[in-house]
Point group: C2
């Protein structure tokens, strides 16, 4: 991963509405959510929502698939993992370190 890519991904998460969108999609899992369903849950006006969805899509953290009239959005878990790996790359100068917590924490399951 390049730093430019990472900054873009981070910037797309660093905004109240977009963070909420991303978390909704993370929780929704592989089925994703339609733009409309997201709008309903967050109460953001359509044009604003679209702006934020485009931002997240451009950064690669979510993907878009058209299903007839609706657009389905999904979190891209691999992109998220790459981002975290980039942030913690070569951490603690190769010594055992606090980042082991990530393993024991079990964010998923």
């Amino acid at each position: 991963m390049q730093s430019e890519q990472a900054v873009s991904a981070l910037a797309s998460l660093a905004q109240e509405h977009r963070l909420s969108i991303f978390r909704l999609l993370v929780q929704a899992g592989k089925d994703g959510l339609a733009a409309g369903a997201i709008a309903e849950q967050l109460g953001v006006p359509p044009s604003s929502l679209s702006f934020h969805l485009a931002h997240l899509t451009r950064s690669g953290l979510i993907s878009q698939e058209r299903q007839s009239r609706t657009l389905i959005y999904r979190a891209d878990y691999a992109a998220m993992n790459q981002l975290v790996a980039y942030l913690l790359e070569n951490c603690c100068a190769g010594n055992a370190c606090a980042v082991d917590l990530l393993v024991s924490q079990g964010a998923c399951k």
Copy 2:
């Protein structure tokens, strides 16, 4: 973690210079780095660097400790872990999911 906190942490990483600073500190480990050492490695003017260090410190991702004339900065791994946990909270609606990658990836060691 509150969303406001998360946005603040993410915003502090979503900037080229600050991202570089954070990664340097992650790699430096528990000894941290003096502001001067960071300035040297990144070539950012002192006032700008100070602005970014303050941003990262306010968001809780790094900490500051004075050691006589110099200020030592360190990455806060626990804060980083909390942030990642917040992003992936309750992911995939409770099913086994792609976030397991985080475990197998072994960013550290």
